[in-house]
């Protein structure tokens, strides 16, 4: 500070170039029209009693916190929120990330030929259309299906007995390739000599992973968690195709509930309000991950 006295303004401070606005304006306009406005408008709709059909579809009112109050008393909504969190944490965060990492590590250490074969199989599952995956797993878990035969309980329909588990597994099976690819790329880009140094220094495999590889992979892991969480929070097709949210409301995650309220029961305002909650949950998860990635290291 003392040194800088009398030298005038700093020459190396960041400067805003007004001319950049001209270059950015087309993009800004597009963003505003196609993104910012719809989002804000949706926020507004979430606090109205807009309906899909009937008189309320034209003349709807701002209803203040009515939708929120209704949610808090809505048993289905509460259950649905929990199911969503279970689905995202179980299938995406834990399942997909852990299994994806495990696969990436195994493939890294496997012979090239082996890893090529296994890698492609996993990726095929990811390339299959969701509806196909849904049908495959639907058949797989029926009474008399492959799963029941494997477990020697041929008269159990697992999609009825443990619906959330089956749906989560199907989702995991389909999406694990994504995490595997992300982690494989991350592992490949680790500085080889740093890992070699750890080995020469006598660190066991577990120690190398715990103290060197995972910390170095942290940015990759966080990116993966963010993407996977956001993708899975809005998962609709697979679950809807397998169970339509049933049996009862056993697999009614928020996206399905939004669909039901908005398009089956025509409560567009309430549906929008619920989808805002979905956004909120996503934001909370993202914040947690970003926080975690910044702390320690």
């Amino acid at each position: 500070m003392a040194v800088a006295a009398g030298l005038g303004p700093r020459l190396d401070r960041e400067r805003f170039q007004w001319s950049s606005l001209v270059m950015l304006s087309p993009a800004l306009v597009l963003l505003g029209v196609l993104f910012v406005f719809p989002v804000l408008y949706a926020c507004y709709l979430g606090f109205t009693n807009l309906a899909l059909v009937g008189s309320r579809s034209r003349a709807y009112d701002f209803t203040g916190l009515d939708n929120i109050t209704r949610m808090l008393g809505d048993y289905v909504f509460i259950k649905s929120s929990w199911l969503t969190i279970i689905f995202v944490v179980g299938s995406a965060i834990i399942g997909q990330t852990v299994l994806g990492m495990a696969l990436a590590i195994l493939l890294r250490n496997a012979l090239v030929s082996v890893s090529a074969v296994i890698g492609s199989i996993v990726i095929v599952a990811w390339v299959l259309p969701e509806i196909t995956v849904a049908l495959v797993w639907y058949a797989f878990s029926q009474a008399g299906g492959t799963l029941s035969i494997l477990l020697r309980q041929t008269d159990t329909n697992f999609l009825v007995a443990v619906p959330m588990l089956i749906v989560s597994l199907a989702n995991l099976w389909r999406n694990v390739a994504f995490s595997m690819l992300v982690f494989s790329a991350g592992l490949r880009n680790l500085p080889t000599e740093v890992l070699e140094a750890a080995e020469v220094e006598g660190a066991s495999v577990w120690r190398r992973y715990r103290l060197v590889i995972f910390p170095l992979l942290k940015p990759t892991i966080v990116t993966n968690l963010l993407l996977v969480t956001i993708l899975n929070l809005s998962e609709f097709t697979l679950i809807y195709a397998m169970t339509q949210g049933g049996p009862g409301i056993e697999t009614m995650t928020l996206p399905l509930y939004v669909y039901q309220e908005a398009f089956v029961f025509h409560q567009l305002g309430y549906g929008t309000a619920i989808s805002l909650v979905l956004v909120l949950i996503g934001a909370v998860f993202s914040l947690l991950f970003v926080r975690a990635s910044r702390s320690q290291v």
């Binding site: 500085p191 000599e193 740093v194 070699e196 140094a197 750890a198 080995e199 020469v200 220094e201 006598g202 660190a203 066991s204 120690r207 103290l211 060197v212 910390p215 170095l216 942290k218 290291v297």
Partner: protein
């Protein structure tokens, strides 16, 4: 614990490239062996094979009596300083240094003590909380060195560990490494591009070229009796002069003709090989090719040359001159006053000529070890006798860096 290291017929082949070819080398227990050679000659590959990071394509590697070809790096008990440092980027200096000891299950208090000791020796005491990305190149290199030194392995592998340090710090670190080696006598394989490091630190020097080991010998021997033209040209700075010559035998006496002069093979030297048609390459070290006016009395041969370039180095000057169509470099005293295009007399001592077969490049003359080598040996011994001084110097060193030591001056 002293362990010798043996390479037996070791090859390393990468695709179409042979990085190391038929390496047979024994590093004696407790020896400090310096490995030198031009860039890409296979030095790092050799170290990596010994560390277990690269598997030899053929041959056997032994540490002590143990065949280690199939032993994982973890269990070889070697410490390596990587050419690229390979520091853990997400850990601070303290944790970088402590990693190896912790991995081997050392107690926290022991680790803390050793880290502090090592950091002090390397002048890193005030940087322990920093990450590698917040250090200068030389500081990183010292962390890399410290990470090896903190351990007590069976073998040290150091890949140009001082290359990025400033001259003063390099002298200190050199002394420190020599002192540590004197004390613990850990078998060491040390790669360097620095002539001074090679000459002053090594018990022996191994010279490699194009993946092949050229010669392994004590520094003086290597300097005085290089096995071939490559070694002769590689060791010594400025480089040895090579000029074409002819061997002639008249009445049973052999004489050498070169640069327009003729001299008999000096007494004490002996021809050890045949030449093809008498064609030889004569090697002349720049310090043996002196300015006529200041030449020693035994420099009995004189040639006339025209000065081309004068490079003043401060304590001496390198003069490049053209003599009988050949360009030669000579060491002149400082402020000699000679200028470009001036004609000068150059004097040389026939006893200090090197002779190589022009075809194969192999030496054909065995010379007695003498002259310059004595100086070198004295300095090496003097250095070894003064560990105490070297040490106190280092402990004072944070900030102010000591004056060049005597070892520096012989460069």
């Amino acid at each position: 614990m002293l362990s010798e290291v043996r390479f037996e017929g070791v090859h390393k082949i990468f695709g179409a490239e042979t990085a190391v070819e038929d390496l047979n080398l024994t590093v004696n227990a407790g020896e400090f062996l310096v490995l030198v050679g031009p860039s890409g000659c296979g030095k790092t590959t050799t170290l990596r094979m010994l560390a277990g990071l690269e598997r030899p394509s053929y041959g056997r590697i032994l540490i002590g009596d143990r065949l280690v070809n199939n032993v994982s790096p973890r269990f070889r008990d070697v410490a390596m300083v990587f050419q690229s440092y390979a520091l853990y980027p997400h850990m601070n200096v303290y944790d970088n240094l402590a990693f190896g000891m912790r991995a081997r299950g050392a107690a926290g208090s022991v680790v803390a003590e050793r880290v502090k000791e090592t950091a002090d020796v390397l002048g890193l005491g005030h940087l322990l909380k920093r990450r590698p990305s917040e250090l200068s190149g030389g500081q990183r290199q010292r962390v890399a060195l410290g990470r090896a030194l903190i351990r007590q392995p069976q073998v040290f592998l150091m890949d140009e560990p001082l290359s990025n340090l400033d001259a003063g710090l390099r002298v200190q670190m050199r002394a420190e490494l020599s002192r540590l080696h004197e004390r613990f006598r850990v078998t060491t394989l040390y790669v360097t591009h620095d002539q001074v490091e090679a000459m002053t630190m090594g018990d022996r020097i191994a010279v490699m070229n194009l993946g092949r080991l050229q010669q392994v010998d004590a520094p003086e021997t290597l300097y005085d009796n290089p096995a071939n033209i490559f070694v002769a040209g590689f060791i010594g700075s400025p480089r040895m002069n090579f000029v074409p010559g002819r061997l002639t035998t008249t009445q049973g006496k052999t004489a050498i003709e070169f640069l327009g002069v003729k001299t008999p093979i000096s007494a004490g030297s002996q021809l050890t090989g045949e030449t093809t048609g008498g064609e030889v390459t004569v090697g002349l070290r720049p310090e043996d090719l002196m300015w006529g006016r200041v030449a020693s009395p035994d420099s009995t041969l004189t040639v006339s040359a025209e000065v081309d370039v004068v490079e003043p180095m401060g304590h001496e000057a390198y003069v490049t001159a053209v003599c009988a169509g050949e360009t030669v470099t000579s060491r002149f005293p400082p402020r000699s006053g000679v200028r470009t295009r001036e004609r000068v007399e150059l004097a040389l001592n026939p006893a200090r000529l090197h002779l190589f077969d022009a075809r194969s490049g192999r030496t054909i003359l065995q010379r007695p070890v003498a002259g310059g080598a004595d100086v070198r040996r004295t300095v090496r011994e003097a250095r070894k006798e003064e560990p105490a001084e070297g040490r106190s110097d280092l402990q004072r060193q944070t900030g102010a860096r000591g004056a060049p030591s005597r070892a520096e001056e012989i460069s």
